[in-house]
C-alpha cells in the first residue's frame, strides 16, 4: 500500500530498520509527556502499540496518503472512503 504511493519515509519500526530515526520529543505514556525520547529509542516503545501507533512518517507522506485514500480514491473506492467516516453506523 505504501510503496505504490512512493511513501519512502513512511515505515513501521517494529519490522524495519532505517538509518534516519524520527525526531525525538516527549512521549506521553501516562498523560504528562514526561518521557524524553532523546534518551531511548522511541520507536521501540511505540512498537507496543503496533498497528495502532507505531508508524513513522513525515508531513509530505501524510499529505500523500490522505489525498490518495480520501480524495483521489487510489486506495479505496469512493463509496468505501465515504463509508469510513461513518463506519459505526
Amino acid at each position: 500500500m505504501l510503496d505504490p504511493l512512493g511513501l519512502r519515509h513512511t515505515w513501521y519500526p517494529p519490522d524495519e530498520r532505517r538509518d534516519v530515526l524520527p525526531v525525538p520529543g516527549r512521549f506521553s505514556l501516562n498523560g504528562d509527556d514526561d518521557l524524553d525520547t532523546a534518551g531511548f529509542p522511541a520507536t521501540a516503545i511505540a512498537s507496543l502499540a503496533g498497528r495502532a501507533g507505531a508508524l513513522v512518517s513525515n508531513a509530505a507522506g501524510l499529505m500523500t496518503f490522505g489525498g490518495a485514500a480520501l480524495r483521489e480514491h487510489r486506495l479505496l473506492r469512493a463509496a468505501t472512503a465515504q463509508a469510513a467516516f461513518s463506519i459505526n453506523r
Partner: protein, 165 residues
C-alpha cells in the same frame, strides 16, 4: 499564505512548549504548503525541517483502517464478521466485530481518558511493561497478549473509546 502559516506555526511552538513542529496543508488537491518551526530535538539547536519524520502515534490507526477496508473491498474480510474469525480464541471474539474494532467500539484494550491523554486509571495500571522495556521492540504477538485478557470496559458496540491498541 506561506508567510502567515509560518508565523502561525512559530507562535504555536513558542506557546506550546514543543521543541518544534511541522505543518502541511492543501486546498482541494492543490500542491501542499509545508512549513517547519522550532528545533528538531529538545536537546538540539538544529532547526526543524519540513522533511523531518515523526512517530505518528495514533495516526497509524488511519493507515490500519484503510488497509482493513481494502481487504473488505476484496471480500477477504467482513465488517460484521466476528474478530474471532481472524483472531482465534480471542476472549469474546464471537461477539466483537471487525466494524466495532475499526470504530473504536471494542473497549478491551488500555483506554485513554476522556481527553485522550492516556492518563486514565486503566492505562496507569498497564505502564509497568512498557516502562520496564523502553529500548525493546515488542512483537505483534506481545501486543496482542498485552490486551487480550483485559476485561471489556463495556459491551462491544455500546460506546466509542480511544484505546492505545
Amino acid at each position: 499564505m506561506t508567510h502567515s502559516t509560518q508565523q502561525g506555526l512559530d507562535a504555536f511552538v513558542l506557546s506550546s512548549g514543543a521543541p518544534g513542529a511541522v505543518l502541511a496543508w492543501s486546498r482541494r488537491g492543490e500542491p501542499a504548503t509545508t512549513v517547519a518551526a522550532g528545533v528538531s530535538s529538545p536537546h538540539s539547536t538544529d532547526a526543524m525541517t519540513t522533511g523531518a519524520s515523526f512517530l505518528i502515534a495514533s495516526v497509524t490507526k488511519v493507515f490500519t483502517e484503510v488497509l482493513a477496508l481494502r481487504f473488505v473491498e476484496r471480500g477477504q474480510l467482513g465488517l460484521d464478521e466476528p474478530i474471532g474469525a481472524v483472531l482465534p480464541d480471542w476472549p469474546d471474539g464471537e461477539r466483537i466485530t471487525v466494524r466495532q474494532g475499526l470504530a473504536h467500539e471494542w473497549p478491551g484494550g488500555p483506554v485513554d481518558d476522556d481527553e485522550g491523554s492516556g492518563s486514565g486509571p486503566f492505562v496507569a495500571a498497564q505502564l509497568g511493561l512498557p516502562l520496564a522495556n523502553l529500548s525493546r521492540n515488542f512483537t505483534w504477538e506481545e501486543t496482542l497478549a498485552w490486551v487480550r485478557d483485559r476485561p471489556l470496559q463495556c459491551g462491544p458496540g455500546t460506546v466509542g473509546v480511544a484505546t492505545a491498541t
